[in-house]
Every structure is written in C-alpha cells, then in structure tokens.
Amino acid sequence: MLKYILKRIFLVFFVVIGVTIVTFSTMHLAPGDPAEVIAVARYGDDLTQEQIDWVRVTEGFDSPVYIQYLKWIKHVMHFDLGRSLVTSHDILEEITIRLPATFKLAVLSLVISLCIAVPVGIVSAVKKNTVIDHLCMSAALLGVSTPNFWLGLLLIWLFSLTLNLLPSYGYGNFEHLVLPAITLGTSMAAITTRLTRSSMLDVLNQEYILTAKAKGLDEKTILLRHVLKNAMLPVITFAGLQIGFLLGGTVIVETIFAWPGIGKLLVDSIYARDFAMVQGCVLFIGILFAFTNLLVDITYAFLDPRIRYENT
C-alpha cells in the first residue's frame, strides 16, 4: 500500500513538471515575437525597434529557451505567475479572485451529476432490459450526445426567455447559479449514469454473486453487501476525475452564462491574446487537476482492500 502511494506521489511530481513544460512551450508556439507583443502592449502601436530590443533584453527573451524556462520556473515557485500583458494586474491574483465562482459551479454540478447518475445507473442495471432501463439509457445517450453549449442555450430559451423564471447570465445570488450548474451537471450525469450501469452489470455477472445466491441470501442483501461495494469503486474513481472535467466544462458554460470564473478568464485572455494570463490559467488548472487525480488515487487505495493489503 505504501509503495503504491509513494509511486503515485512521485508520478504526480513528474506530471506537474510536464505540465509546466507543456504550458511554457505552448506559449512559444504563439506566432510572432513575444518581445514585440509585450512592447506593443506597453508602448502602444507606433514603437521603435530599440524599444522592442530593450524589452527583449530586459525580459530575457534573447537567452536560450531552457534558461528562460528555468527563470520562469523560479518565478512560479514563488507563486509569481507574472503580470497580465493587457491589464498588467498580477495573474495569480486575478485567478484567485475568480476561483470561488468556478469552485461553486463545479461543486454544485458535481452534486447534481452524482445525485442523478448513481441512483439512475443502479436502477437501470438492476432492472436490465425493462422499460425503465431503456428510458434511462436513451435519456443518458441523448445527454451524452447533446453538446453542453447548446443545452445551455436551450435552457436559457426555456427558463429565462419564455418562462423568465431565472436570469440568463450574470453573477450574484443563488438564482444565477442554477442554470449553469444544471447545464454542466446534467451533461456530466449522462456520462456517469452510463458508467454506473456498465460497472453494475459487470459486477452482477461475476461468480461471487452466484456464490452469494448459493448461500441463500435474498436479492436485497446481495445487492447491498456484495454488488454495490464492488460496483461503486470505479464510480468513485470516475467521480474524482469528474472534478477535472468540470474545470474543462466550465470554460464553455461560463462563456455562455457570463459566469466570472477561471474558464471565462481563460477564454477572454485568448481573445485578447494575453498569453501570459493564458499561461497562468492553464498552469493553474493543470496542476489543480493533477492533484485531484492524486487525491482520487489515494482514496481508491484505501477503499480497495486488494491495494490496501497488497502482499507479494
């Protein structure tokens, strides 16, 4: 068990370094000369070549790439993600202001997703090939096939334009949170329902369920003591991964509903070609996601006795 966790921790450390390399290199992928972009941002359009060269020297763009990378990493270590090219605010500050908005949306969506998906998945697995099962599965299939940006528009059209019960955008009290959370939550729920059902069916076909029947236990006991315990392991791992997807999903949903989260910040900074901010956001999301994966792996190790009591 300890060996498993140590290995996972080492892997996460390695992945985080990888994330920084990828983030850094995507910035260098950007067309045009970074020094020129910063110079334009600072001195306006009509600028002389010396200004660009001066920016290149001060920002250290003339040194070889890996030195720039090491310098950048040194800054990142001290939680200094640099300044936004456009607003020249501190990037980390911008992100931390918007963190609660994204966090609220992500958590509520996760709750919605799990509350719908887990019970529906279990019921449709237990009552396989009945009307309920076909109904739930077609709804889940529809959910998976509907892009969440279109779902968002449909919900706005239905709830705020026609029935105008809920605001269609903006940030404030709970009312504003409902539609984005439903959009993100239901599209996640569709995927999780299908996973829960296939995980349940997989366990129901195992031989130890036959042994449980052979012991004369009734359906309810078998379901609770034997089936659920095994079936929920992959679902819990997937629920952990979902936190990451929600970060991805927020990018779109926040843009539709003008929800001031990190996702919207990322999209806006891409529009404004503010690469420093983009770099900051991507780094933040990548590292956050890497650590949630680590957390999921460790909880999984505690839940699954085959790993907890691993002996050769």
Binding site: S145, L153, L154, G244, L246
Partner: protein, 288 residues
C-alpha cells in the same frame, strides 16, 4: 459448462445490433448528404439576400434565413462536410498514432513504456477541452489548426486502451509460441497483437468521432475554430446568439444537426461495443 457460457454470452447481446444498424443508417445518410451537398441544397449557402433577412421557416426556406439572408437549410447541409471531415481526420490521426504507441509501450514494457505513459499522463493532466482550446487559440482559427489541436489532445485514449490490451495479450501462450519460433518483434506486433486489438479500436474510434465533433463545434462556438462565412455548425450557432430572442431558430437548427450527428455515432459505437467488446466503458474514453 464452458461451451454453455460462450453461447449464453452471445445470446445476451444479440439484441443490441439493432442499435448499431440504426446508428449506421444515419451515419451513411449523413455521409451521402455531405457528398451530394451541392445537389441537395436549394440555395447557394454563401449567397446573401439582405431583403429576406431572419425569415422564419417557410416553403421557400425550409429552415428560414440567418441575419445575412442566407438559407440555413443549405448551410446546414454544407456544414455536414466540415463536421464529418474533422471527426474522421482527427480520429484517423489519433487512432493511428495512439494505437502504435500503445502497442509499442505495452509490448516493450521497458523504459519506452515508462516514457510513453508519462507523456500520456501529462497530456491527460489538462482536463477536457482546455489544451485543445489553448492550442487552437494560439495557432489561430482555421480547419487545419482545429485538427491539430484536437489530434494533440485525443491520442492518449487509444494508447491507454491498446496498451492495456497488449499487456494481457503479451502474457498469452501464443505470443510465447511465436517467440519460440524466433519470429521478429515487429512480426509479432503486426500479426498477433494488432489483429486482436482491431475490434476494440473500431468501437473506440466510432465513439471518439462523436467526441471529436462535439469538441470541434465547441471550438467554433468559442470563435476559435472555423470562422464564418464557412457554414460550420458551431460558428452558425454562435452567429445566432445575438438574435436569440427574436428568432431562436437560428440556433435551434444547427444545435439539432450537431446532436443528431453525434447521436448517430454514439448509437453506432454503443451497438458495436455491445456486440464486440463490452469492456470499453466511459472510463477510458472520457478520461482524456
């Protein structure tokens, strides 16, 4: 008892090839629409008639017209080309790259396996659409850039799936037998491991086309994919938002088109999966 188990398993899943048939039929229909687009569309998708702007669906314009007076129905038909093209090219590239990396890393198990799997972990460290979004944003909006962005972020799903399969296949006796025959590693990978991975890859690829189409339309929706005036569903959807209150049909029809196409591929993929290999579930597919 062994014989009986095989027969029961096959029987159980027989019902699902109806799903594959329906999905397959819709996919074929969509491909025909894409190919015969110019014949089928009543109007020229680029011709702007400002006088009949934002018309609701009527006989002349079955799906109405958009803000520049172009026939939405014709634009949707031409849009099929872009969505299918992106879906197929992205999946074609990622399946090829992902599978070969998966086989090599699963079969060699040494340092190569460690390196490939660490790269997979890194690419998968960015949830969902984020990495694709950034790459498309930086490279600038165009068909090619969308394909590049999606391909760079989609290949790990195949590598993980194929590596898992190769690890189990590798332990089987027929691989040891081939080694005893002194067959070369490449021969073993090509003749023994790949044929046994083909079916699961086909299932994953079908489901992944659906995935790629959603991602591609999402990029266009965010204005980072294919730009107007090209008739791409995502950008049509985005163009319809300002007129959302007065004529929602501008967004309704492209949205349905995306959903129907993605539904068709999901249907086909689910049907194939239940018939061939029920083990591929959401876990591998969506984890990227």
């Amino acid at each position: 008892m062994k014989i009986l188990n095989n027969e029961i398993n096959i029987l159980k899943e027989a019902g699902n090839n109806r799903m594959a048939a329906i999905g397959g039929a819709i996919v074929i229909m969509l491909t025909l629409i894409a190919i015969l687009a110019s014949l089928l569309s009543p109007h020229d998708p680029f011709e702007q008639k400002l006088e009949n702007r934002l018309l609701n669906p009527c006989f002349e314009y079955p799906f109405g017209t958009d803000d520049l007076g172009r026939c939405i129905f014709s634009r949707l038909i031409f849009g099929t080309r872009y969505s299918l093209a992106i879906g197929v090219t992205v999946v074609g590239i990622t399946a090829l790259v992902g599978t070969s990396l998966g086989i090599v890393s699963g079969y060699s198990r040494g340092i190569i396996d460690e390196i490939i799997m660490r790269i997979v972990d890194i690419v998968l460290a960015f949830p969902g659409i984020i990495l694709a979004l950034v790459i498309a944003g930086i490279l600038g909006p165009s068909f090619l850039n969308v394909v590049i962005a999606l391909s760079l972020t989609h290949w790990p799903a195949y590598t993980r799936l194929v590596r898992g399969l190769t690890l189990t296949l590798r332990e089987m006796d027929f691989i040891e037998g081939a080694k005893a025959l002194r067959a070369s590693n490449i021969y073993i990978m090509r003749r023994h491991i790949l044929p046994n991975c083909i079916n699961p890859i086909i299932v994953l690829a079908t489901l992944d086309i659906a995935h790629a189409i959603i991602f591609a339309t999402a990029l266009s929706f965010l204005g980072l994919g294919i730009q107007p005036p090209t008739p791409e569903w995502g950008s049509m959807l985005k163009a319809g938002i300002p007129y959302f209150r007065i004529s929602p049909h501008l967004t309704f029809f492209p949205g349905t088109a995306i959903m129907v196409t993605v539904l068709a591929f999901n249907f086909l993929g689910d049907g194939l999966r239940d018939m061939i290999d029920p083990k591929i579930n959401e876990n591998i597919l969506v984890s990227e």
